[in-house]
């Protein structure tokens, strides 16, 4: 069973006194568990919109999407939040860590929301940060005292710590230098291989495409190519 089943997704942005924008135009897509997929395409091609709809952050104008067997269109706001919390992980371009929390507190945040007990939470956070190569002395630093690469690794740890089935990453390497980006992608790739976590990237980065086992090319809101290198 595919982990993502998008069926005829259309997203039209209508703003007052402006021409409607078709961000997605009847996009259908199936992602199998364990895939390391890159959504690529020029700006405005609909990558981020597709990622947002798969992540339950946005709703399609038409069509439906099932994630892990659940039709997201049937869930209300609260149920969607709970679904994201328990089934999905997100990595954003600008890291977006909570600035007043330390690295380990940022990673622990979603576990806390899930109700994981303190001792277990501490162990999971420590293991995840170490797995992503964050040295122990950095665990108690707040984001502004971490480099961009360190912050993004913490953000990845936050996404992966609960071992979700699917991680959605929106341009995760865009703000990183190539060495740091490469190191981060290697970590994500190894998580994909070792833990079977499915990754979907929205990206322009060739480094991601090099590691992806599936590349979906979008243009003008449509899939123009879907290949498994």
């Amino acid at each position: 069973m595919p982990i993502v089943l998008a069926n005829q997704l259309t997203k039209i942005y209508r703003e007052k006194d402006a021409v409607p924008v078709h961000a997605l135009d009847s996009v259908s897509l199936e992602i199998e568990p364990g895939e390391f997929t890159a959504l690529v395409g020029p700006s405005g091609s609909g990558k981020t919109t597709l990622l947002n709809i798969i992540g339950g952050l946005d709703t399609p104008t038409e069509g439906s999407v099932e994630v892990d067997g659940k039709n997201l269109g049937t869930l209300n706001k609260r149920e969607l939040a709970a679904f994201r919390l328990h089934h999905l992980g997100f990595v954003f371009q600008a890291y977006n860590l909570v600035p007043v929390l330390t690295a380990e507190e940022n990673v622990a945040f979603t576990l806390l929301l899930r109700g994981v007990d303190k001792q277990k939470r501490q162990n999971m956070v420590r293991d995840e940060l170490e797995a992503l190569g964050i040295e122990k002395e950095l665990h108690r630093r707040r984001p502004h005292k971490l480099s961009g690469g360190q912050q993004q690794r913490v953000a990845v740890a936050r996404a992966t710590v609960g071992e979700p089935k699917l991680i959605l990453a929106d341009e995760p390497t865009a703000n990183l230098d190539s060495t740091t980006g490469k190191r981060l992608l290697d970590k994500m790739k190894s998580m994909n291989e070792q833990k079977g976590i499915t990754f979907i990237f929205s990206t322009h980065d060739p480094l991601v495409m090099e590691r992806a086992n599936r590349i979906v090319h979008l243009r003008d809101g449509k899939i123009i190519e879907d290949k498994r290198p």
Binding site: L57, F90, L113
Partner: protein
């Protein structure tokens, strides 16, 4: 962790938080300060009233309070006195109260003549302590008058004055008394109209034998007046027993009006605080749109966002209340012990039964109430920004620039 985030968020913009804390502190200080003065005025009014105007409980002939006629008296005054003597520890004073005229060679004025037993009167009234010249009554033939009456009649200590009363027989009875003391209670009506003579002198003027017009009872705790009045009403049939709240309805209305004024003032202060909180927290959520969006995207339910902002407000409110309470304590405490001399406005205050030196104070319950009201209003004010933040569209919020 929600509490941790809320607490640390306060210190992200120290200047803004400082402004909000000071705003709440000023509001809290103003509420406590006002309450302290109102408490002082209330206490002063009640104590003053009970020391100089009415007693805690008064036993009188039916209708005497409304129509203080010479014919309205307690027939068996001696029997009532015997009964009261049996109540160990009760402070009471029998009085013959007459409406009459006081005159000097220069002038004349209406007078309330208090015929008292000096030792007993000292136990229920502070008039003897307010003598500014001479002494209180020591024997018959003496009179103690108020300072305003002395001025009006142009009388000095040691001089003689005449008191005239229409007696039981309707004849005008008059007698000359030597002024043995002049008092200043601070209550204009008392200082201007009241004179004290011995009970026997007053009884002679009224042509009374053992009759009394009233027995005044003083209690240390004014709150006990009503139960005692109810109890005495049962044991003294044929008499009217009233407690101070019934005797001085103007005072009760004034006390109520003070309370309403505090509530109105407090309400205005709290509303001002509430608008400051709403304004500042709308700025706060505007600055954190993206952060709130990310938190929602990660799966935090909207109530977590609301809780974070409400806790942040609560912490700011607590800090504000703490600063306000400490400042209020530092301001009020010296006044509680040392008193505040308001003699510059004492003439006006006197009309309300307030002595010129007041001692503002706040009770623990005042402080708790002020804190709870301030915190309650803070939470209420934070609800609008908190609800607004929790309803952000995630996709818009995470891409907010």
């Amino acid at each position: 962790m929600i509490l941790t985030i809320a607490w640390r968020n306060i210190w992200r913009n120290k200047r803004r938080s400082f402004v909000l804390i000071i705003t709440i502190a000023i509001g809290s200080f103003a509420i406590l300060g006002t309450q302290a003065f109102v408490n002082a005025f209330e206490r002063q009014m009640v104590n003053g009233s009970l020391d100089f105007q009415t007693a805690s409980v008064e036993i009188a002939a039916p209708g005497f309070r409304t129509q203080p006629s010479i014919d309205s008296f307690i027939e068996q005054g001696d029997a009532l006195e015997s009964e009261l003597k049996a109540k160990i520890g009760l402070k009471w004073s029998p009085r013959v109260l007459l409406q009459g005229m006081a005159s000097s060679p220069e002038s004349a004025t209406a007078a309330q003549i208090y015929g008292v037993v000096p030792e007993r009167e000292r136990s229920v009234s502070l008039i003897a302590d307010k003598i500014i010249e001479g002494t209180f009554l020591t024997q018959e033939g003496q009179v103690v008058i108020g300072v305003d009456m002395a001025d009006h009649l142009d009388l000095r200590l040691g001089e003689k004055m005449v008191l005239m009363v229409s007696g039981l027989s309707k004849d005008i009875n008059a007698n000359a008394f030597r002024i043995i003391g002049i008092f200043q209670s601070g209550y204009q009506d008392v200082d201007k109209m009241r004179v004290y003579v011995s009970r026997h002198d007053a009884a002679r003027l009224a042509e009374y034998d053992q009759q009394l017009n009233m027995v005044a009872i003083k209690l240390d705790d004014p709150a006990q007046a009503e139960p005692l009045a109810n109890q005495l009403a049962l044991s003294t049939p044929g008499c009217e027993v009233l407690h101070w709240r019934q005797l001085n309805p103007f005072l009760v209305v004034s006390l109520e009006s003070f309370k309403y004024n505090v509530w109105i003032f407090g309400g205005i202060m709290l509303t001002a605080i509430a608008f400051s909180i709403i304004n500042i927290f709308l700025m706060v959520i505007f600055e954190r749109v993206r952060e709130i969006g990310i938190t929602l995207a990660l799966g935090a339910p909207p109530r977590v966002i609301r809780a974070m902002l409400i806790w942040e407000t609560l912490f700011v409110g607590l800090l504000g209340c703490f600063v306000g309470s400490v400042t209020a304590f530092a301001f009020i405490h010296p006044l509680t012990t040392g008193g505040l001399d308001l003699s510059i406005v004492s003439e006006g205050l006197g009309r309300f039964g307030i002595s010129p030196i007041i001692h503002p104070f706040v009770t623990t319950s005042d402080q708790v109430l002020a804190v709870l009201m301030t915190l309650g209003m803070s939470v209420l004010a934070s609800l609008y920004p908190a609800i607004k933040a929790s309803r952000f569209q995630v996709v818009d919020a995470i891409h907010f620039q």
